[in-house]
Amino acid sequence: MDDLMIPPPGSAVPLDAPQVVDEPLLSSGAVGDALVSSFERLTMPHLPAISRFARSLTREAAAADDLVQETYLRALRGWHTFRDGSDARRWLFAICHHAFLRDVQREGLYVQPPDDDPELESLETVAAHWRAQQSGVADAAERLDLGQAINRAVGTLSPHYRAAVVLVDVEGQTYEEAAEVLGIPVGTVRSRLFRGRRMLQDLLFEYARDAGFDTTRTPAPPEARK
């Protein structure tokens, strides 16, 4: 549960927006309007990116829009913790992810993932691909409609793995940037990312088998060949 308390990028104050909801600036009309106005100037340009991220996380339009709104409300409430010159986009990503995990937790779907060895994940990925090559599934997977298969597969990943894959592979963030958004060490990002990719590859091969592409050849026992 540790990473439910994410420090926003550029701030030393832990992000837990509801704790700062009673900020005086937010409760007085004229000053509040000015605050909202300056907040919007800096944050609204990032709305498309946050919306895209929210959709990637939730995989559902209405839930994503709710998450975006919640993200901006939390961000406004925590606006006093934002430091001038910090990366507002990354800060909003962190808040969005934090709010998403809260929803997951509320729905009882939160499961703390194990810390896997990133190198072993690479090794397992290659071993799985080798087995798929031997059975003919790898060739078949390359003939699939990869777009549809991957889109479905990402939606089935558990939240932690999905977030790492979306941030690095879809949003193009570095391990370090993703670590800042997720509030976890870089090594944990690598672990979740590589595990997520391996699970996606497994799902892709499953789709290929389900689509009837499998052959009847039995693969030899997997082993690390390199």
């Binding site: 007085s28 509040g32 975006v68 709104q69 409300l73 406004l76 990133p118 691909h129 549809q148």
Partner: protein, 76 residues
């Protein structure tokens, strides 16, 4: 070598190690097939891993702005 599959494809290894792996791949068809598949796979995730759902951004912007204004006015 294959332990560095993802770090190599992400370009996150030190230059010398990146180069050493690249050199190995030119002479090892087995490893190359794994790396090439993984590279294609990553490109597909990059292209198709998002939700793919179209968003009415104007409508969303209005919705969020209204919610923010309500807070600025001392609302909920």
């Amino acid at each position: 070598m294959v332990r560095q599959l993802w770090p190599h494809l992400d370009g996150s290894l030190p230059d010398a190690l990146q180069d050493r792996i690249a050199e190995h791949l030119t002479g090892c068809a087995d490893c190359r097939s794994h790396f090439e598949f993984a590279s294609t796979f990553l490109a597909a995730i990059r292209e198709h891993g998002g939700s793919g759902v179209a968003v009415d951004m104007d409508e969303l912007r209005i919705r969020v702005s209204r919610a923010l204004a309500a807070v600025g006015d001392g609302g909920p």
